[in-house]
């Protein structure tokens, strides 16, 4: 720290008491002259300096240094010098500011005047007058206050060096400015990316789509690159700061050297104040973002705990299977990124391990819920079954199944019973292992495979067949999968395992082969049973995989494996499930009843009806719909699409057509038959509306009407009644049979072969 010396000089006589500026200080000289009056004895006093940087007021003492006397002995001039320790005085912004109070030793000026001059001697030995004041004689005054602000610029100290320093500092600061601009751009982009990442991280992991996941990875990757760039910029700024510091140090050294060579010890510290505040991204250092993998693993474990705790073991295994595939895909995806960061990968693997620990346990502390072959730890397998199953599995020759067989051999069992849970495990072990392998083997389609071609171009089928060229490998995989499935089903049949646990697998196998037990010589399965199978497959989520995507569809169509019957079965199953309110169990009941019908189409015509789906999602009735189940379904589907119908009970119906609106007229007759009249806009078109006519008791034509079977009549009963009517009228074909059963007047339309097309109660009962 440099020192500044202030020297006050009072000239009150000719005697100069020799006190000189000390070499280590910058000196100020203050001279006090009296004219006609004596200058009093100068006593020690204080001068205040205010530092510009922090406005801290500091003081230092002034001491008489020399005096001059006139011939009479009066002190006519006094010179004083003040000193201040520069440790408490800073040069800020290259400037100095000070003020002081002068005293005349308590002596009043009684005649003439008092003149005060203050000089500063600059480090280059030049002097500068700071204060020049004259005070008139005043017998009552002994102190005079001088408040002066004096700025001393660095350029005054050393103009040449100051200019050089200014130039260097300006250049460096300009560089820093540019870096800050880049930093600001990073900030903006970083903010956008972080929002995108947060948006996806806020979703349930299970709800994240593949597109989301792609966006997430892309945003994370960009953010990571951006942060690397920010690191570079941070380093650049650090380098510039170091350069600035070195430059300032160099200049200070030169200043100090110059001053010292001139006999002064002026500290040059703090000559420069360079703002080095940086933008947040440059300042924040390593990011402390949320670990999405940890969130994912915690949620997965919570879900699994819930399923296990509520004895939903099949769902537990499905979740395990789903999670296993998902985790592997995630690891594959992350691992394939060239720019993967160890921290991120470690987060992912830690998350996977934590879930695995819950599921499978570890060697040290936890047994887990299931073992690696998906057997529940708390419910082992009977010995004899284990032995038979292991033998059967080995016969398949499949490496995966043999591995399972080895595991089964080593299993010990405390009891001799196989629970349903174990059976479910068995089915899913086979099925999911094989199916997962198959679907994972499907090659990913290229976007161009499914792009619509230009107007002049190919039909969609051609596009599909073009896409199929990419799937030759899938053919072999498919056939292998089918062999595996069939082998597993055969094994289960040999072991007399009931159909129930194997049903999802068996159902898929039968659905594909259209043969009972998948065998080539097996009984051909009808559409109803195949629809059953399609419903059985639903819980595995395979229907979506199989028919929901163009890739699978094109693959399967192209290979001519599934064919129309497969699609018809799946369509029927989906329709039945839709009617049953997405309830697979209810759907099975409907299909079970459907066996009383010889046509699923007629069943669906009667039960559900045929709709068209309008652009706004509302359903428009075309034909059919003769049960309350179907009627309620129609209302509900429209409700969910935003079209609300209210039902008004009436005894008479509208003769004038009801154009539009939300009101359906309804009447339930004594025998349970219900009559309804729907507005025109509930119908697909004028033809459908006009076909659905009846005549009122007064003979008036009513449009847009429907009759519904009594609510207590289930599908099976309707099928039975209809079948009896047709069988009782063997000579009536390609016509409408009029009959009456249990007090209900019924019409049944049959085709030329006697197949039922529709069956409904008539309007006038």
């Amino acid at each position: 720290m440099s020192k500044l010396w202030l020297i006050l000089v009072f000239w009150l006589g000719t005697i100069v008491q020799g006190t000189t500026a000390q070499a280590a200080d910058v000196c100020f000289f203050i001279v006090w002259k009296a004219q006609g009056s004596a200058v009093g004895e100068q006593l020690p006093g204080y001068i205040n300096f205010v530092d510009l940087n922090d406005y801290e007021k500091v003081s230092f003492a002034v001491m008489p240094s020399s005096r001059r006397f006139d011939s009479t002995g009066k002190v006519i001039e006094s010179k004083s010098m003040g000193c201040i320790d520069s440790d408490v005085f800073k040069i800020g912004s290259n400037r100095i500011r000070f003020s002081f109070v002068l005293g005349n030793g308590g002596i009043a000026i009684t005649e003439g005047y008092l003149q005060v001059e203050a000089w500063v001697e600059l480090p280059n030995r030049s002097s500068k007058l700071l204060v020049f004041s004259r005070y008139d004689a005043d017998p009552n005054r002994a102190y005079w206050e001088e408040k002066k602000v004096f700025d001393i610029a660095f350029s005054e100290v050393d103009p040449e060096l100051a200019a050089e320093a200014e130039h260097v500092v300006h250049e460096i600061q300009a560089d820093i400015g540019m870096i800050k601009q880049v930093s600001a751009a990073y900030n903006a982009e970083s903010s956008t990316l972080e929002n995108a990442v947060r948006s996806i991280e806020s979703k349930s992991f299970d709800a994240i789509t593949s597109e989301d996941f792609g966006s997430y990875l892309e945003a994370k990757e960009k953010l990571r690159v951006l942060r690397l760039k920010a690191d570079d910029k941070r380093n650049e700024v650090k380098a510039k700061q170091a350069e600035l510091k070195a430059t300032v140090a160099s200049i200070k050294e030169r200043v100090d050297g110059d001053l010292r060579s001139q006999g002064f010890d002026v500290g040059s510290k703090d000559f420069f104040q360079v703002p080095l505040d940086l933008d947040p991204i440059l300042d924040q250092g390593p990011s402390s973002e949320v670990n999405p993998f940890a969130i994912w693993s915690e949620k997965t474990i919570a879900d699994l705990q819930y399923l296990y705790g509520n004895e939903q073991r099949v769902q537990f295994l499905e979740k395990v299977s789903h999670w296993t595939v998902q985790a592997q895909d995630l690891i594959d995806t992350v691992s394939l990124r060239a720019s993967i960061q160890p921290e991120e990968f470690n987060q992912l693997t830690a998350a996977v391990k934590s879930v695995e620990k819950y599921i499978y346990g570890d060697e040290q502390s936890s047994k887990g819920v299931i073992d690696r072959e998906l057997w529940f730890q708390d419910n082992p397998v009977p010995v004899e079954f284990r032995r038979d199953m292991a033998d059967a599995l080995e016969k398949t020759g499949d490496p995966g199944l043999k591995r399972m067989a080895n595991s089964i051999k080593n299993w010990t069992s405390p009891d001799g019973k196989m629970s349903k849970n174990q059976q479910a495990v068995l089915a899913l072990s086979y099925g999911m292992w094989n199916l997962t392998r198959f679907f994972k083997s499907l090659p990913q389609p290229k976007p161009e495979d499914f792009q619509e071609v230009d107007a002049s171009g190919q039909a969609r089928e051609q596009v599909y067949s073009s896409a199929l060229k990419n799937y030759n490998g899938a053919v072999a995989n498919y056939r292998q999968m089918m062999a595996d499935i069939q082998g597993a089903v055969d094994t289960a049949a040999d072991l007399r395992v009931s159909a129930s646990p194997l049903s999802p697998l068996k159902a898929l196998c039968e659905l594909i082969t259209q043969r009972r037990w998948c065998g080539d010589s097996g009984e051909k399965i009808g559409l109803v049973d195949n629809a059953f199978n399609a419903i059985e497959v639903f819980p595995l989520g395979l229907s979506t995989m199989l028919i929901g995507k163009g890739i699978q569809k094109s693959l399967l169509n192209g290979l001519e494996i599934f064919g129309e019957e497969f699609e018809a079965a799946v369509n029927v199953a989906e329709t039945v499930v839709e009617v049953a309110g997405k309830d697979a169990a209810k759907a099975k009941v409907i299909l079970d009843s459907a066996k009383k019908w010889d046509s699923v189409e007629s069943l669906l015509h009667v039960v559900k009806g045929n709709y068209q789906i309008a652009a706004d999602g509302t359903r428009k009735l075309v034909t059919g719909m003769h049960t309350k189940l179907g009627f309620d379904n129609f209302i509900e589907l429209n409700q969910s699409a935003g079209k609300t119908f209210s039902i008004r009970n009436v005894t008479e119906f509208a003769v004038e057509r009801i154009e539009a609106g939300g009101e359906i007229l309804s009447q339930t007759l004594e025998n349970g038959v219900r009559r309804v009249q729907l507005p025109r806009d509930a119908w697909a078109n004028a033809d459908a509306f006009s076909d659905a006519i009846a005549y009122s008791e007064a003979g008036q034509r009513l449009k847009g009407i429907k009759t519904l079977w009594p609510e207590s009549y289930d599908v099976s009963k309707i099928g039975d009644i209809t079948r009896r009517i047709v069988e009782s009228n063997p000579n009536i074909r390609n016509s409408i049979i009029e009959a009456s059963v249990d007090g209900i007047k019924i019409n049944v339309r049959v085709d030329a072969s006697g197949k039922v097309l529709t069956s409904y109660p008539v309007w006038k009962q």
């Binding site: 078109n685 006009s690 076909d691 006519i693 009407i705 409408i736 097309l757 008539v762």
Partner: protein, 89 residues
């Protein structure tokens, strides 16, 4: 008179003599008209002879379902207010 035509006539009579609903009846009538040109010719002739508006409409709709849209479209547009939407199959 062919069997189909006999069946058609008797079935059409059902529309005006029984209470309905007649969706299935019209379904059968349309199928018969589609499968037999004699039936279609009879429908066309009967349409021109018919005085009752409802019957003319019914016959026109049956004929259109059997592929004779050009001859009967105007009637349904002008008399029953059909729009392009209604003619969509």
């Amino acid at each position: 008179m062919s069997d189909n035509l006999k069946k058609f006539e008797s079935t059409l009579a059902l529309v005006y003599s029984s209470s309905g609903p007649h969706e299935a009846t019209f379904g059968l009538l349309k199928d018969l008209a589609k499968s037999d040109n004699d039936v279609l010719r009879w429908v066309s002739q009967e349409f021109h002879n018919a005085k009752d508006h409802d019957k003319k409409s019914d016959l026109a709709r049956i004929a259109i379902a059997a592929g004779m849209r050009e001859q009967f479209e105007i009637f349904l547009r002008e008399e029953d207010g059909w729009t392009d939407e209604d003619f969509k199959v």
